[in-house]
């Protein structure tokens, strides 16, 4: 049966080769190299900091944070999880992965929230950015690993850049959605009292969109964690590397340890950020209240009730 490729084959592969290897890499490699400096700086600082904190102190602090923003149940879960992570011997890798994730999420937020705001304010921009976001979300990360390596080299930072590309869309989308779903009459009221567009944004739109933006941040965080192993392919370390090397050596045990670390970290971060997002809805006791309640015989009804919820 005849088909068009019998006559002519579109040389898309060589075009892309030429465009990237022949034009983008030689001309812009310096630019891209410079771009990764802030990412590298933040990552190194975070990694250094997290590695320097003793395991016990980190565990206690994160447990208290979990208690303060979420519930006692999550605090217990956090405590047990972190102890397990240490017991299976992947604490250092976990801290590296955490530093990578936090760096990626930080840059996603720094880039994504303003883009989301811009998309909310201009339909044209929103329509323009939507297909880009669709591509970012659907294209398999393996496809852009190669050009990333060409432009940035191998190592932690290129891994984070791949993570950012993969994890960026939700925060842009949800920032846009959150701002757009602020009730029209509130915007009208704000303008009626003489607000400038900037004041409307800061006084009304962003505070009311905060919960949705936090949900976006949560999604971004989860996507970033799911990239941990893939980023290891181009030289990122941490738990991803443990899993990757385990895979290479058919070492099921090591891969499981790395995998368990990722899962536990993901669950802790997910629950904490979710609780942060819903905080404005449900009044939770602050950290100070929690500390005080530690010394009371009875915990507040509120925190024990939500503790049961997350335990069930």
């Amino acid at each position: 049966m005849w088909q068009p490729s019998d006559v002519f084959e579109l040389p898309l592969d060589s075009w892309v080769e030429t465009a990237i290897k022949g034009w983008l890499v030689p001309n812009f490699r310096e630019v891209f190299q410079a771009m990764q400096v802030p990412i590298t700086t933040v990552l190194e600082l975070l990694d250094m900091g997290l590695q320097a904190i003793p395991m016990a102190i980190f565990t206690i602090v994160l447990t208290l944070i979990a208690w303060a923003v979420a519930s006692r149940g999550l605090a217990v879960f956090t405590l047990i999880s972190l102890v397990v992570v240490d017991l299976i011997g992947v604490w250092t890798q976990t801290m590296t992965t955490l530093a990578m994730i936090l760096t990626a999420v930080l840059f996603c937020a720094v880039v994504g929230v303003p883009l989301g705001i811009a998309a909310a304010r201009s339909d044209r921009f929103a329509n323009g950015i939507r297909p880009v976001l669709d591509i970012m979300q659907t294209i398999p990360p393996f496809v852009y690993l190669v050009p990333i390596v060409m432009l940035f080299g191998v190592g932690m930072t290129p891994g984070i850049i791949a993570t950012i590309i993969f994890a960026l869309p939700p925060i842009i989308r949800l920032t846009n959605l959150g701002i757009r779903s602020v009730p029209e009459d509130l915007i009208e009221a704000a303008y009626a009292f003489g607000s400038s567009p900037r004041q409307v944004l800061w006084e009304v739109q962003l505070p009311l969109a905060l919960r949705t933006i936090m949900a976006g941040l949560n999604q971004t965080l989860m996507l970033a964690l799911s990239m941990a192993v893939i980023a290891a392919l181009i030289g990122a370390g941490g738990l991803g590397l443990t899993v990757y090397t385990g895979l290479g050596r058919l070492d099921v045990g090591a891969a499981t340890e790395g995998g368990l670390g990722i899962v536990l970290l993901a669950m802790i971060l997910d629950r904490i950020t979710q609780a942060l997002g819903s905080e404005s809805e449900r009044k939770t006791p602050g950290l100070l209240d929690t500390l005080r309640s530690l010394f009371r015989t009875r915990t507040p009804a509120n925190s024990s009730a939500s503790g049961q919820q997350s335990a069930s």
């Binding site: 009730p183 009459d185 509130l186 009208e188 009221a189 704000a190 303008y191 009626a192 009292f193 003489g194 607000s195 400038s196 004041q199 006084e203 009304v204 505070p207 009311l208 404005s280």
Partner: protein, 410 residues
């Protein structure tokens, strides 16, 4: 009295090419024709009005009549397509963004139908909003917010979130937010429509009470004619983007401009619209100092009355009845003084008819006196009830003022 807001030939077309629709409007095409031919909606069509300083100007219309669009054009939440709007002598449509912001900050506050309180701010922060935007320092704006909250009786709720408040209380906060910036003009877009009837009545009374002290210029939008009649110094009836009639409550009810207005007003309780001044007649009073019993008898006979008021130097002194003078033994030359009844019904000219029902039961004419106790008119019970019965008959003659529709009397 100066005009605070003047609107001339104001129109609003929603659509891609307002010019075209405006042309069609000028050619006398109807709203529906324009919609079906061009797909554009005419919101407001060639409206003219002015609102005086300290006046409550009510725009009343059903949903879709363009009243909400109209009020939003007064602070340019919606830009008018055509016409001219002057606020305090300033051309609103010519104002640039900065000037407009200034006008909104200083002169034009707004109260919304669904309250539009910011859910993430406390009650006090909501009330402070306009001041915060204007850059008033924290301590001072809190103080002013609390003053405004006190005016509406909610100062105890300052640090709660609006969601903790009932609908009526939320709208009080909305009102306080409007008052806190001390605006000259208050735009109220169906502020009480979302409240249940009892609360609505309370809020209306409260607004009138506040207005007595504040003397703001208020543009009040409503779809409820009763509310319009209670609140409005002047009322504009709006239909399909046009003003059908503008006038006082008495003019609207007493002399509806067309069937549309008449249909609205037919169920209105006229006793709550008409004041005594609309039914009173010239008093034909007797003079305490000069008139004798004989003269009084003659006057009663001549006018066919059974009672007449007596004045002393212009001021009301009392009333003499036919019965009191009918005793033949009374000397015709005797002074009236001894026969004057002083315990008689009196009322002010602006007293509404429903408030004198009790006084009508005495059967005596009601003396209408002004602040200085000067007798300005008399109202017979018959005249009161005739006015109330009037709605069953055909609308009045075209003679504008519906004053003293009954020269017929007892």
């Amino acid at each position: 009295m100066t005009a605070k807001i003047v609107a001339e030939n104001v129109s609003k077309v929603f659509g891609d090419d307002p010019e075209q629709a405006l042309e069609m409007m000028k050619d006398g095409r109807t709203k529906d024709e324009i919609l079906s031919e061009t797909g554009m909606t005419v919101g407001v069509q060639d409206v003219n009005f002015s609102v005086e300083q300290g006046e409550i100007f009510v725009v009343m219309g059903l949903s879709g009549s363009g009243k909400s669009t109209l009020v939003r054009m007064l602070n340019r939440l919606i830009d008018a397509s055509d016409g001219k709007i002057m606020v305090d002598g300033e051309d609103l449509l010519a104002a640039n963004a900065e000037k407009l912001r200034q006008l909104r900050l200083e002169k034009l506050a707004m109260v919304f139908q669904h309250f539009a309180l910011f859910p993430h701010k406390t009650v006090a922060e909501n009330v402070e909003y306009g001041l915060k935007i204007a850059g008033v320092p924290q301590g001072k704006r809190r103080e002013r917010a609390l003053t405004a909250l006190k005016q509406v009786g909610l100062d105890a709720w300052a640090d709660r979130k609006p969601s903790a408040l009932s609908g009526g209380m939320q709208q009080r906060v909305g009102l306080a937010r409007g008052l806190a910036v001390n605006p000259e003009i208050l735009l109220m877009d169906e502020p009480f429509s979302a409240l249940d009837p009892l609360i609505r009545r309370d809020m209306q009374n409260e607004l009138l009470e506040l207005q007595r002290e504040m003397k703001k210029t208020i543009v009040f939008i409503t779809h409820d004619l009763d509310e319009a009649l209670v609140l409005g110094d002047r009322i504009a009836i709006m239909k399909e983007g046009r003003f059908v009639q503008v006038g006082t409550a008495e003019e609207i009810v007493g002399n509806p401009a067309d069937d549309y207005v008449a249909a609205f007003t037919q169920d209105v309780d006229r006793a709550k619209v008409f004041g005594l001044d609309s039914v009173m007649e010239t008093p034909h009073a007797l003079n305490l100092a000069t008139d004798t019993v004989g003269a009084a008898r003659d006057r009663l006979e001549e006018l066919g009355r059974h009672a007449l008021h007596v004045v002393d130097g212009g001021k009301l002194a009392g009333l003499v009845t036919h019965r009191a003078l009918s005793d033949a033994s009374i000397d015709a030359n005797a002074r009236l003084g001894d026969y004057v009844q002083t315990d008689i019904p009196t009322a002010r000219p602006d007293t509404l008819l429903y408030k004198v029902y009790d006084q009508c039961t005495t059967g005596l004419p009601i003396a209408v006196v002004d602040e200085s106790e000067t007798l300005v008119g008399a109202v017979t019970p018959g005249a009161v009830f005739n006015t109330l019965a009037h709605e069953q008959e055909e609308p009045t003659d075209d003679g504008g003022a519906d004053k003293t529709p009954q020269s017929m009397s007892a």
